[in-house]
């Protein structure tokens, strides 16, 4: 039983990490109906960048992650402006967008490998005040803080989207781009802002996750990206609370699979759940009914 609870808590922690990445997929998908395959690469970039300026500028790691947030946010905006906006203007097929984001991900990951090397590097810990032990179940301070910071960030994002003026614009654009622009909303700015938010949240996720596991490497975005993406779809892509729930489900089911089936099976679980959910409830758990079925 203790083992079971321990595995459950492990699952919650990793699930929180997934949901932080998932939020970026969700934001972009919500507004553009675009699966952003470059998101995993932006996440890896955020972590790498934080490490590089931490080492290069001798600043605290928290500050470095904040700077990385800005950098990754800007990277998101640049990706949108240079590669995706022209496609929107031409009203290209969705598949062209998809291939473009895959191309961007190729470029980012390979450039990172060239400039930072492919090796795994150490990443400093953000928090370390030991461990909390209750009735044989251990919670690491890093796990705890990862969950806490992630929850706070989700709260902030939800407030931004639900309560602020720009959030209103985002929701309006999400529902109907044309109508939003007729109401005087600068749709291009809104989209750029969403890319900024997605990039910044990816960098925070990158920083937090890297400091939890204490490692960074250029290819870290691929697996994490795919799983976070499953989490986003699972919870209902385009919905913020959905990303959290989706992430937690993926995380917990992974550690349960590791517990009951063996570690070897943990990585396939995310995809099996993903496919089942999509078939049973195509919009995900929290998704709005937006699918046109023929």
């Amino acid at each position: 039983m203790v083992v079971f609870i321990q595995q459950f808590i492990n699952g919650l922690a990793i699930g929180m990490a997934y949901s932080l990445i998932a939020v970026g997929f969700s934001l972009v998908f919500g507004i553009l109906r675009l699966v952003n395959f470059a998101h995993g690469a932006v996440y890896a970039f955020g972590a790498q960048f934080a490490l590089v300026i931490f080492v290069g500028m001798q600043i605290s790691i928290a500050l470095a992650i904040l700077l990385a947030m800005v950098a990754a946010g800007l990277l998101g905006v640049i990706i949108d402006k240079t590669a995706l906006e022209p496609l929107r203007k031409k009203k290209s097929m969705p598949i062209a967008n998809l291939i473009t984001t895959i191309g961007i991900s190729h470029i980012l990951v390979n450039l990172m490998t060239i400039y930072f090397g492919s090796q795994t590097r150490g990443f400093p810990a953000l928090f370390s005040f030991g461990m909390i032990e209750v009735a044989g179940v251990r919670v690491d301070s890093n796990q705890l803080m990862l969950c806490l910071v992630a929850l706070i960030l989700m709260g902030v994002l939800t407030i931004v989207v639900q309560k602020s003026k720009i959030g209103l614009a985002i929701r309006a654009t999400e529902q109907n781009t044309k109508a939003a622009s007729l109401m005087g909303i600068n749709v291009n700015f809104v989209i750029s802002f969403v890319f900024f938010l997605a990039g910044a949240s990816a960098a925070i996720a990158g920083g937090l996750i890297a400091s939890h596991y204490r490692i960074v490497f250029p290819a870290m975005g691929f697996d994490a990206g795919l799983k976070a993406f499953s989490a986003a779809v699972l919870g209902g892509i385009g919905s913020l609370p959905g990303s959290i729930i989706g992430g937690l489900i993926v995380g917990v089911s992974e550690s349960m699979a590791a517990n009951f089936l063996g570690s070897a099976y943990r990585d396939s679980v995310a995809f099996v759940i993903l496919i089942l959910v999509l078939i049973i409830r195509p919009t995900g758990l929290f998704g709005k009914k937006a699918i046109m079925k023929v």
């Binding site: 083992v3 321990q6 595995q7 492990n10 699952g11 922690a13 990793i14 390979n110 490998t113 060239i114 090397g117 492919s118 090796q119 795994t120 590097r121 150490g122 461990m131 251990r138 690491d140 890093n142 796990q143 996750i209 596991y213 204490r214 490692i215 490497f217 250029p218 290819a219 870290m220 697996d223 992974e254 550690s255 590791a258 517990n259 063996g262 570690s263 070897a264 943990r266 990585d267």
Partner: protein
């Protein structure tokens, strides 16, 4: 309609480029060995008769891009360093210069198969050092063997690799011997009986953990109480650690590279600072300590190459390597250095770069390398002795 015309022109241009590229790869005439486009530094010795007097060319085929680029770059750096040594000492075969030609396989079987045929078609390579992963190496090896090109992999760990053919060698330790050394550390040096195994899901990880379990079966009183497998590159080990703790292990043998061992040690030691962790020699690199810090203290390894060894040859290699590349060599890098070394020795001793005589010579000679004495057995594998190393105060130290 101009756009359409431009489209057609683009198509034609691309096709033209591709045919140009193909032509580049094809050997046009025996007198002009095709220079692979990848090698910027190669001096094309066109016109010179290729038979005698040209450079002795050795291919390094390894991942120079992608997720495993660090290992391929290590091979290439080591090979270049070895070549520099030989060239400074007057070359091989009475004054011929050694030339290292890099091929990037991006750790993909598809590209490796193509590179192998390219090297075979070229017909002017004295040997191939490489292919990093066993899976990739095993796709390329049959081609080398068929064309009688010596192939020495410094890293492939698959049990069947060296058995592919008589031209296929491996300068990596045989798993059984290394696993035996690790178990000896665990059981004799540390006195543990409850063993946990953490292995990565690669061919090497799977076959090595099988070997360990078979060896443990033969040891009375010792048992493997937990075996957890993880994907390489996945950073979360909490389910595995919980399972180890539940099984009450004394010692965990980590069948992985440094990139798995370091975060595993960090995560495990925060939960249980007492647990002993043992690693394999391919996790032996400075990066391990850089990442792991205090958490990798007391981690033990058997290693064939020890960078802090007082041996002047090793010291010279390590300091030259750091001077050239800015970081210290790992065990695999040292094995690549020795692989080029023994190949060049065999070429010198055989007096030719022809495959067959060099292959026979490789079995006869032994090479005093930086990672111990290299001498191939009949199957093309190397037997070597191990130092036992422990991490103490952020440094690797010998224990015996």
């Amino acid at each position: 309609m101009k756009k359409k015309t431009i489209g057609i022109l683009v198509v034609l241009a691309l096709v033209a480029v591709i045919f140009a590229g193909c032509a580049q790869g094809a050997p046009q005439a025996p007198a002009q060995p095709a220079t692979p486009a990848g090698d910027a530094g190669a001096a094309p010795d066109a016109g010179a008769p290729a038979a005698e007097g040209g450079n002795v060319r050795i291919a390094v085929a390894a991942p120079l891009t992608g997720d495993n680029a660090e290992y391929g770059q290590g091979f290439l750096n080591a090979a270049r360093l070895q070549a520099e040594h030989r060239n400074a000492a007057g070359g091989v075969l009475g004054g011929r210069q050694v030339e290292i030609v890099p091929f990037d396989d991006a750790n993909s079987s598809e590209e490796a198969a193509s590179i192998a045929l390219r090297i075979a078609s070229d017909g002017d390579f004295a040997g191939v050092i490489g292919h990093f992963s066993s899976g990739v190496a095993m796709t390329a090896a049959p081609t080398y063997n068929e064309n009688q090109i010596i192939n020495i992999s410094p890293s492939a760990g698959h049990v069947d690799f060296s058995g592919i053919g008589e031209f296929i060698f491996r300068n990596n330790t045989v798993v059984v011997v290394e696993a035996g050394a690790i178990l000896d550390i665990a059981v004799t040096d540390l006195g543990h009986t409850r063993i946990g195994i953490l292995s990565i899901m690669t061919d090497w990880g799977v076959s090595t953990s099988d070997v360990i379990m078979n060896l443990v079966d033969a040891l009375p009183g010792v048992e493997v109480v937990a075996h957890e497998e993880v994907m390489e590159g996945s950073p979360d080990f909490s389910p595995a650690i919980t399972a180890f703790e539940a099984a009450d292990v004394d010692v965990v043998i980590s069948v992985s590279q440094y990139s798995t061992l370091a975060p595993f040690a960090i995560q495990y030691r925060t939960i249980n600072p007492e647990v002993d962790i043992l690693g394999f020699s391919n996790a032996y690199t400075r990066n391990l300590i850089d990442i792991g810090g205090e958490s990798v203290e007391r981690v033990r390894f058997p290693v064939s190459f020890f960078a802090d060894s007082p041996d002047p040859v090793i010291q010279a290699f390590v300091s030259e390597y750091i001077a050239a590349n800015g970081y210290s060599p790992s065990a695999l890098t040292a094995q690549a250095f020795d692989a080029v070394g023994i190949l060049l020795d065999a070429i010198d001793a055989a007096g030719t770069t022809e495959g067959e005589p060099v292959r026979q010579m490789l079995h006869e000679i032994s090479h005093n390398g930086v990672a111990g004495v290299v001498s191939f057995d009949a199957g093309g594998d190397v037997m070597r002795d191990f130092f036992r190393v422990v991490i103490q105060d952020g440094e690797f130290r010998l224990t015996n």
